[in-house]
């Protein structure tokens, strides 16, 4: 079997196993389903190219999340510079509104938009994607304590936004 066939077969497996979770993670990172889908495709294409170059390489799910996080961070930084993407896409924001009928209701997507990207990544990698702080640390290339601290700081902001919302 040639390199391309091996890479295709292995990428297929990665896509089948991880596409949904990865795309959902990215959607929460960037706040836009369409962009998330694009970034997810980019991640899998990047995996395909990596496997094509080195078919023996072991690509684990952590690699996918690292690539996804980097893609999301660079997208968000670019978006910050350009200010062109609308931040008011009702479709995604409504999906983030938890328990709409209770006093606890909060627009988490709007709250996440106020976090630094590094904190968003740490929070989503752990509490959303389900990684432990040590696993997230390996993926993000920081220490486990730094992950915990970022999660805490992200929570501070979320709490602040929730309090603001409940007051208003």
């Amino acid at each position: 079997m040639d390199r391309t066939a091996i890479a295709q077969r292995r990428t297929e497996v990665l896509v089948t196993e991880h596409q949904t979770k990865l795309a959902r993670y990215l959607r929460r990172m960037v706040g836009d389903a369409e962009v998330a889908l694009d970034l997810t495709q980019d991640v899998f294409l990047s995996a395909y190219r990596t496997l094509q170059a080195d078919p023996a390489r072991e690509l684990r799910v952590g690699w996918l999340y690292r690539a996804a996080t980097n893609a999301a961070i660079s997208f968000m930084r670019r978006r910050k510079i350009l200010h062109v993407l609308p931040l008011d896409r009702d479709l995604d924001r409504s999906a983030w509104r938890v328990d709409e009928h209770s006093a606890e209701s909060v627009d988490l997507q709007a709250a996440l938009a106020r976090l630094p990207v590094e904190q968003t990544a740490a929070l989503l990698m752990t509490s959303y994607a389900g990684y432990s702080s040590s696993e997230a640390a390996q993926i993000l290339g920081i220490s486990a304590d730094a992950v915990r601290q970022r999660v805490c700081r992200a929570m501070k902001t979320l709490r602040h936004v929730m309090n603001e919302e409940s007051i208003s």
């Binding site: 896509v15 959902r24 369409e34 495709q41 938890v98 606890e104 988490l108 989503l124 709490r159």
Partner: protein, 189 residues
């Protein structure tokens, strides 16, 4: 005696949030809170931490979006478009030329702008807006390898020539493409 500083307390709070803190750590955090009003106000107690983190978990559990990356990948000729700066700028330039040309009432065909590149235009935004009110535009996009599609749209401008409303009169087929075009036009404010 409380020996924790606020940075260490933040790390403990993160551990509590992620369910990684043992009894000893939880106790140390409680002790810190009893003497640190700032952490108590900003982070809150264990219950508060769990309440906030549970909201994220709740969203995750309610998630129903089922994206099909494989299908999207298969749709893209040549594997994948790149909305890199170069391609984006090239597409934006083609778009500007197209808009300017339509002002002379001529039918416009933009060759070599694949549909995905239109999205690059949307990301980059463009200042090219027709300087008249309520005029219809028609653009034909020809992909490098495959489909060709035409979108006819109408833009309503205010007194300062800012786009007020974009209406797609003739759809191209993929709704995303129509939306991307209108989004690009509406962003040109």
């Amino acid at each position: 005696m409380n020996t924790l500083n606020c940075t260490a307390a933040e790390i403990l709070a993160g551990a509590i949030a992620l369910g990684e803190a043992g009894d000893e750590q939880r106790h140390a955090y409680r002790e810190h809170l009893s003497t640190c009003r700032r952490c108590l106000t900003q982070i809150g107690g264990e219950r508060e931490i769990e309440r906030v983190i549970n909201l994220v978990a709740q969203v995750r559990d309610q998630e129903s979006w089922q994206p099909d990356v494989r299908r999207a990948l298969a749709r893209v000729p040549g594997r994948r478009r790149a909305w890199r700066w170069g391609a984006g700028l090239a597409a934006a330039a083609a778009f500007v030329v197209a808009i300017l040309a339509t002002q002379r009432q001529a039918p416009v065909v933009v060759h070599g702008v694949a549909a995905p590149d239109l999205k690059a235009v949307a990301y980059l935004g463009t200042q090219a807006v027709p300087q008249r009110e309520s005029r219809a535009e028609s653009l034909a996009f020809t992909g490098a390898q495959t489909a060709r599609t035409t979108i006819t749209f109408q833009v309503k401008l205010d007194k300062r020539s800012k786009p007020m409303r974009c209406t797609v009169i003739k759809h191209s087929g993929p709704a995303k493409l129509d939306m991307a075009l209108c989004n690009a036009v509406m962003r040109a404010r």
